[in-house]
C-alpha cells in the first residue's frame, strides 16, 4: 500500500504547478512555525523575518485593548515623534511581556499562571514601568526630553450590554 503511495505522491509533486509557491507555503505555514514552536515569546512563534505565518486578526475575541502614553499631568503624548515607534508596536511588545509576567502570578485556584486579561492595574505595573523605561531610554528623538516623566495607560475595550465600552487603567510610570 505505502510502496504504491510513495511513487504516486512523488509523481503528484512532480506534476504540481507553481512549486516555488507551494515551497514557500509549506516553509512559512509548517516549517518555520515548527522550528519556532518552543520560542518563549508566543508572538515570535511562526515568525522568522521575512517568513511569517501572518497571525494578525486570525482570532477575534470579545475583548481587546491598546496602550497609550501621557505625561505626568495625564496629557496624551504623540508616540511617533517622541519615541519613534507606533502604539501598535508598543502594545504588542507590552502584551508579550505582560503574558510572560502573568505566568509568574497565582490564579484564582492558587496555581501559577493567571490569565493576563485578569491582571489588576497594580499587577501590570512592573511590566508597564519596564516598557516605559525601555521606550524612553531607546528613543533618539529630542522630543523625549521635553517631559519630566511618562505614564502608560492600558485602554480596555469590551462589550457592555452589546455596546463597545472603553476603560483606561494606569499600568506604568517613569
Amino acid at each position: 500500500m505505502i510502496s504504491q503511495l510513495i511513487p504516486k505522491l512523488n509523481q503528484w509533486c512532480l506534476n504540481l504547478p507553481f512549486k516555488f509557491h507551494w515551497f514557500f507555503v509549506v516553509l512559512t505555514a509548517v516549517v518555520v512555525p515548527w522550528l519556532t514552536a518552543s520560542h518563549p515569546v508566543k508572538a515570535q512563534r511562526g515568525e522568522w523575518y521575512p517568513f511569517s505565518n501572518f497571525p494578525m486578526y486570525s482570532n477575534f475575541e470579545p475583548t481587546a485593548y491598546y496602550v497609550y502614553i501621557t505625561d505626568k499631568e495625564d496629557k496624551p503624548v504623540a508616540m511617533i515623534p517622541t519615541f519613534g515607534t507606533w502604539p501598535t508596536a508598543v502594545k504588542k511588545a507590552y502584551d508579550a511581556k505582560l503574558k510572560a509576567h502573568a505566568k509568574t502570578l497565582l490564579n484564582k485556584k492558587g496555581k501559577l499562571g493567571k490569565p493576563s486579561k485578569d491582571l489588576t492595574s497594580e499587577e501590570c505595573r512592573p511590566v508597564g514601568d519596564a516598557m516605559l523605561k525601555q521606550l524612553r531610554d531607546a528613543s533618539k528623538f529630542p522630543e523625549v526630553k521635553k517631559h519630566s516623566g511618562y505614564r502608560l495607560y492600558q485602554m480596555d475595550i469590551y462589550l457592555d450590554n452589546g455596546k463597545i465600552t472603553q476603560k483606561p487603567k494606569l499600568v506604568g510610570e517613569v
Binding site: F18, F20, Y49, F54, Y68, A78, I164
Partner: protein, 332 residues
C-alpha cells in the same frame, strides 16, 4: 471527425483558470522592477529609529547586529550606494534586452553576464531590507509591513540566480527568460503570503474565524484609538463600523468573511493574466478597505499587487490595440 463541443462550465473554467504562462514583454518587466525598487527605496531610505535589539528576532537571534541601520552617519553613506544598486537593478536588464534584440544568438553570453551582474547588484538591497525588518521585529513586537518587500527582493534574486545557474534560457521553466521568471516567482511568493495568512486564520481560530468576525468591531475601536495616539490627530477611518459590526453580525460576517476565500485561493491568480487581474483587484480592494476601516497603510502590498497582478498598463495597451485592430478590420 466532428469535434465534441465543450461544455459551458469547461469553457468558463478554461477562461478563468486555464493555464497560460504570463510571458511579460520587456517594458512590463521594467515596470515591475520599478515598482519593486520603489518599494525597497521607500522602506530603506531613512535610518531606523530603533537603536537596540531588546528582543532579538530572526537573524538577530543568531547574533547578527543590525543596529547600525539606525546610525544616521552610516546610513548617509549606505543609502546613496543602495540607490545606485536599485537604479542598476532597474536599468541593467534593459541593456540585455537591447543586445538580445539586435543580435540574439551572439549576445546570449552577454545577457548571461548581465544577469549575473544584476544578481550581485540585488544582494545589498536584499540584505539591508532583511536587516531593516529584523531590526524592527527585534523590539519585542512583530510588524508585518515590509515582509512583502523583502520577499519580493528574495524571489527576484532567487529567480535571477537560478537563471544564471541554468545559463541556457531554454532550460528555464515554460520558456521564460530570466526577467519573466523573476516576475513569475515574485507573484508566486506574494500569493504564498496570502494563502498562508488564510490558513493561519482557519487554524488559529479552530475554524471559528467566520463566526467570530463580528468581534472585528472591537479591533476597529482598537485601531482607531491607536491611530490617534500616533500623532495625536483624529484618524479619518470609518470608526462607526465598530459598533455597526456588533449590532449586525451577519453583515460583518458577509463583509469581513469575503477576504478569507480571496486569500485562501490566491494561488489561482497564478494561472493566467485574467485570474491575476481578478485576484489582484480583489486583494487590492481588500487592503484599501482595511486602510479605510482600520487606518492601516498596506502601501507596499497595494503597490506590488498592482504591478505584478493587476498590471494595468498591459491591459490598457492590449485593449487599445484590440480596439484599433477591430477598427482596422471594419474599415478594410
Amino acid at each position: 471527425m466532428i469535434e465534441k463541443p465543450k461544455s459551458f462550465f469547461k469553457t468558463i473554467w478554461k477562461f478563468c483558470f486555464g493555464f497560460e504562462p504570463i510571458r511579460h514583454v520587456w517594458w512590463e518587466t521594467l515596470l515591475i522592477r520599478c515598482a519593486i525598487a520603489y518599494a525597497a527605496w521607500l522602506s530603506l531610505k531613512d535610518a531606523r529609529s530603533e537603536t537596540a535589539q531588546p528582543a532579538p528576532h530572526g537573524l538577530a537571534a543568531w547574533g547578527v547586529d543590525f543596529t547600525w541601520l539606525s546610525d544616521d552617519k552610516t546610513m548617509a553613506t549606505v543609502v546613496p550606494l543602495l540607490n545606485i544598486c536599485l537604479l542598476l537593478y532597474i536599468l541593467l536588464p534593459i541593456v540585455s534586452t537591447w543586445f538580445d534584440r539586435r543580435e540574439p544568438l551572439r549576445t546570449s553570453f552577454l545577457s548571461w553576464l548581465i544577469d549575473i551582474a544584476t544578481c550581485f547588484i540585488l544582494l545589498p538591497p536584499f540584505f539591508i531590507s532583511l536587516g531593516n525588518g529584523t531590526l524592527i521585529n527585534s523590539q519585542g513586537a512583530m510588524n508585518h509591513t515590509t515582509q512583502i518587500v523583502t520577499s519580493a527582493l528574495l524571489a527576484q534574486w532567487l529567480a535571477l540566480a537560478w537563471s544564471c545557474y541554468r545559463r541556457d534560457p531554454s532550460k528555464l521553466p515554460r520558456g521564460y527568460n530570466s526577467q519573466q521568471l523573476a516576475a513569475d516567482w515574485t507573484r508566486q511568493i506574494i500569493a504564498a503570503t496570502y494563502v498562508v495568512s488564510a490558513t493561519t486564520k482557519l487554524l488559529e481560530s479552530n475554524g471559528n474565524w467566520l463566526a467570530d468576525t463580528p468581534y472585528f468591531g472591537l479591533q476597529i475601536a482598537k485601531a482607531t484609538g491607536q491611530a490617534y495616539y500616533e500623532w495625536l490627530s483624529p484618524p479619518d477611518n470609518a470608526a462607526w463600523l465598530s459598533q455597526f459590526f456588533i449590532d449586525h453580525p451577519h453583515v460583518a460576517q458577509g463583509i469581513v468573511g469575503l477576504g478569507l476565500p480571496l486569500e485562501l485561493f490566491a494561488f489561482l491568480a497564478l494561472f493566467n493574466r485574467r485570474s491575476a487581474l481578478f485576484f489582484g483587484i480583489g486583494l487590492a480592494v481588500l487592503h484599501s478597505t482595511i486602510t479605510e476601516v482600520m487606518h492601516l497603510n498596506f502601501f507596499y502590498h497595494k503597490l506590488l499587487l498592482v504591478a505584478l497582478f493587476v498590471n494595468p498598463v498591459w491591459w490598457v495597451i492590449t485593449g487599445t490595440k484590440r480596439i484599433i485592430g477591430i477598427k482596422d478590420v471594419a474599415t478594410a
